[in-house]
Every structure is written in structure tokens, then in C-alpha cells.
């Protein structure tokens, strides 16, 4: 599929960059003319993935997060969010709704459930000690240029 646009941003794992990542993604995908609700859902999924890198991947220590966004001619948004932190020992368990490895921090264990519900497809790869990559797809249905 022909690429309409692609953007790669690398930023440090400061929690203030959660908002930055949402704004950056919103700005890139606006070219596909998404609805308010499509923007809100994609933003929420991005916020979950980036927060997970900061909270779990780097356990609130310094690290780098890579955000890659690609828009293709079929009006699909592809987003990849990557950290080189702790990794996930058991992905299947981690993706179960309400599972969290840090219940004492008032986390709901719903980040992956949000990503799965708000995106068309998500794929998680991870290696302990090496890091985690989340890939997400969402087709924009409202685009004028379909």
C-alpha cells in the first residue's frame, strides 16, 4: 500500500511526553480527516501505550521511546510504539483485562483492553530485558478522500 505520510519521533520517557505523543499523533492523522470520536479513540490508545513504556518498560527511570506513525492510501493509520525497557514476561497474561503487575499504584489493568477496543488490530511483541513494541492499526472511515 502506498504511503501517504510517515513520521518517526524519539523522545525521553518523561511523563509530560504522554500529552506530547497524543498531540503529535492527532496532528499527523488529521490528514485523513478523522471524526472527533476517531481522534479521541486513537489518542487514548496512544496514551495507553506510551504510559506503559514509562510506567512499566522503564519503571519511571530514564529511557527512550520511539513513536512511528504511518498513513497509507487506504486511509489506514499504523502506529508503532517501542521501548527498550524491562519487557513483558507473559504477554497473554499482561493483556488480560484487569491484570496489572502494579496494583499498589492504583492502576486499573485496562491499558491493553483500551487499545484493543479502540483500534482495529493490535500486536504486541516483547522480550524480557530487551523491551516491548506495540503495533496498532485503525482504518479511518470518515475520510473525504476515500
Amino acid at each position: 500500500m502506498n504511503v501517504k505520510n510517515e513520521v518517526k519521533i524519539i523522545f525521553p520517557s518523561n511523563s509530560c511526553n504522554e500529552a506530547f505523543a497524543r498531540v503529535a499523533v492527532t496532528s499527523v492523522i488529521s490528514a485523513l480527516d478523522p471524526t472527533v470520536s476517531e481522534i479521541a479513540e486513537i489518542k487514548t490508545a496512544v496514551s495507553e501505550a506510551v504510559t506503559n513504556c514509562i510506567v512499566h518498560g522503564y519503571r519511571n527511570t530514564a529511557g527512550k521511546i520511539e513513536l512511528y506513525v504511518r498513513l497509507t492510501e487506504d486511509n489506514t493509520v499504523y502506529i508503532r510504539i517501542k521501548d527498550t525497557g524491562t519487557g513483558i514476561p507473559d504477554i497473554k497474561k499482561a493483556m488480560e483485562p484487569l491484570y496489572t503487575s502494579v496494583p499498589e499504584e492504583e492502576r486499573a489493568g485496562l491499558g491493553f483492553a483500551v487499545m484493543e477496543n479502540f483500534m482495529d488490530r493490535i500486536k504486541v511483541t516483547s522480550k524480557e530485558g530487551k523491551g516491548t513494541t506495540v503495533k496498532m492499526y485503525r482504518k479511518i472511515c470518515s475520510g473525504k478522500n476515500t
Binding site: 500529552a19 489518542k43 487514548t44 486499573a108 477496543n117
Partner: protein, 101 residues
Amino acid sequence: MPVIIDTEENRIVARLKGEIDHHNAKELRSDIDVAIDRNRPEIVVLDFSGVTFMDSSGIGLVMGRYKTVSAYGGQVFVENTSAQIKKVMRLAGLDRLAEIK
């Protein structure tokens, strides 16, 4: 200031503002908890009319307050949520815990 808290008899209303994510949930949480600890209100209203964005960190925030308040017999009401926020809350089944309007 991300939250304005009005204290009435037996009731506090916390008017949340801006975006609720992991970055600013901590401050919101401690501001609300100070008011809850001080007053032990029967009813805690979380007013979301000024909230423009929320992710699962907001779910943690509501669930945490629900736990504290219901432990002493109080009630939590969530009010004025936007469509995006309602969707996130439903996903969490929060509509079954706290009353969402």
C-alpha cells in the same frame, strides 16, 4: 489548578479539569484525598465537565476513590462525562460501581 473542590455538608464536589493521564493523575488524586480525609463526606461527586481527555489512569483514579469512600459507607457519583470518557468508563465496568451521569 487541576481540581476545584467545593465542600458542603456531608458532600464534596470535585470539579476536575483538563486531561487526566498518568502524568497529572497523581496530583488530582492527592488533592481529592485530602478533602475526603478531612470531611469524610457521605457523598463524593466527581464532576468531569471540565475534563477534555481521560485514559485508564482516570479509571484508576475513580476506582481508588470508590474504594476509600465505600469503605466508610459513603457513595461516589461521576457526573458530566463526555462521550470519549463514557466509553473508557464503560470498558472498565465503572458504570456498575459508581453512578455515572
